[in-house]
Amino acid sequence: MIEVKNLIKEFNEVTALDGISLQVNEGEVFAYLGPNGAGKTTTVNILATLLKPTTGKATVAGYDVTKDDMEIRRLIGYLPEDFGLYPNLTVYENLNFAAGLYKISRGERKDKIGELLEFFDLREKKDVLASTLSKGMKQKVGIARAMINNPEILFLDEPTSGLDPGMAREVLKIILRLKEEGKTIFMTTHLLARAEQVCDSIALIDKGKILCAGKISDIKTKLKAKTLEDVYFGVMGENYE
């Protein structure tokens, strides 16, 4: 579903991604792990067609990120790190605008937004301004917004970042429900224990290089690690100072 080969991204003199390769299969929940500034968001931005790679190849659902950006945008949902909501619009208005961008007809829009509000338990917050919502609620609305076009692939950039444990658990439950619906989910996260509960495979990135990637069970066996946290600190080793 997602394939990345030798991807390099340079910003002026800085190499943000240094020849990364990875693969995500259809219907998988994939966790992209690494410290701040490792290159996680840059990778997501390239796969979501927000940035162009300097060299290398990346495909999403068979479409090339450099040539078929419009096709990819129609297929994916994207949750940015900071929710991506207009603070002075209500929850409904935010979702309505997103629906408009995907050319969802007015009649269809009402039903679609209603379904999402129901799915994310946001019906009571429908007319509340986004700026007045709690972080957890904003995150839920952000994911609902990313789901407006019923995407096959969801990119979630730090979906649990800054949330209290209860809300983080709720967001991860939502991710599991989306997985049950057959969505392919590519997420970046810092919560290793939570990632282990919901993810099928992972990749660890640091300083723009992939340190290890694959199925969690395979990596754990290979590294003789009990938990994902053991894998993380085992692989990062002295890098993680």
Binding site: F11, N12, N45, A48, T49, L50, L51, K52, M70, R73, R74, I76, Y78, P80, E81, D82, F83, G84, L85, Y86, P87, N88, L89, E93, F97, A98, G100, L101, Y102, K103, R145
Partner: protein, 228 residues
């Protein structure tokens, strides 16, 4: 018109005019110059038609101030609110985003322009002639479009220029430059007010078309995403 363009324009108008921070400057930008100019109009009209033409051209700066205030925030707010990625990740072309945002600047500018025309026709104590019609019905709307494209081009290329309001002066400076050039040519070529105003309208039209193409060319997703 494309539904996405309308959606972007509607959202832009909604987010702009829901913000209390913009309402007061907008009202002041309309009210103070309008009061000052309208109150001096009868006195200036007594001095002859040429003074009225210059005054009307100055009056036309009001809609462009409105346009600039709205346009300045078109990309700045998307960056400030961190909504730019959500917008750019949708299957929307650069052109649709640009035109949608421009529409949101042009509409309030033109609405103010229409109000000005009505006010001027009511208060103007001299007969409305061709130069006045050119100023109000041609140069006015053209200036609004020119200011819109100029400010959106500048703030999408250099988003930081919108911070602190510096970008608001760009259209103002551009328009003053055009006026000064045309008045200089008027003196040099010794031409009448009708021809001068046609010349101003022509220069603004050419510059508006040029700015539109430059603005769409300058639109850079990567720069907006990274803020570099």
């Amino acid at each position: 018109m494309n539904s996405v363009i309308i959606e972007i324009g509607k959202k832009e108008l909604k987010t702009t005019f829901k913000s209390k921070a913009i309402i007061l400057p907008l009202l002041m930008a309309i009210g103070i110059p309008l009061f000052a100019i309208i109150s001096t109009l009868p006195a200036i009209a007594q001095g002859g038609a040429e003074g009225v033409y210059v005054l009307l051209l100055t009056l036309l700066l009001i809609p462009t101030v409105i346009t600039s205030l709205v346009g300045m925030n078109a990309f700045l707010n998307e960056i400030k609110w961190r909504t730019i990625k959500s917008l750019l990740v949708a299957p929307v072309s650069e052109k649709e985003i640009f035109i949608g945002k421009s529409l949101a600047c042009i509409i309030p500018g033109l609405m103010v322009e229409i109000c000005l025309v009505v006010i001027v026709f009511i208060f103007l104590p001299i007969a409305v002639d061709i130069p006045i019609l050119i100023i109000l019905l041609l140069i006015g709307p053209l200036l609004v479009m020119f200011a819109t494209f100029l400010i959106i081009a500048a703030t999408s290329k250099f988003p930081s220029s919108a911070e602190g309001g510096a970008a608001g002066f760009i259209p103002f400076a551009g328009i003053m430059g055009i006026f000064m050039l045309c008045f200089f040519l008027q003196r040099l070529l010794q031409i009448g007010p009708t021809l001068t105003n046609i010349m101003i309208a022509f220069v603004i039209t050419v510059l508006t078309i040029l700015t539109y193409f430059i603005a769409t060319k300058w639109f850079n997703r990567e720069r907006l995403v990274t803020g570099l």
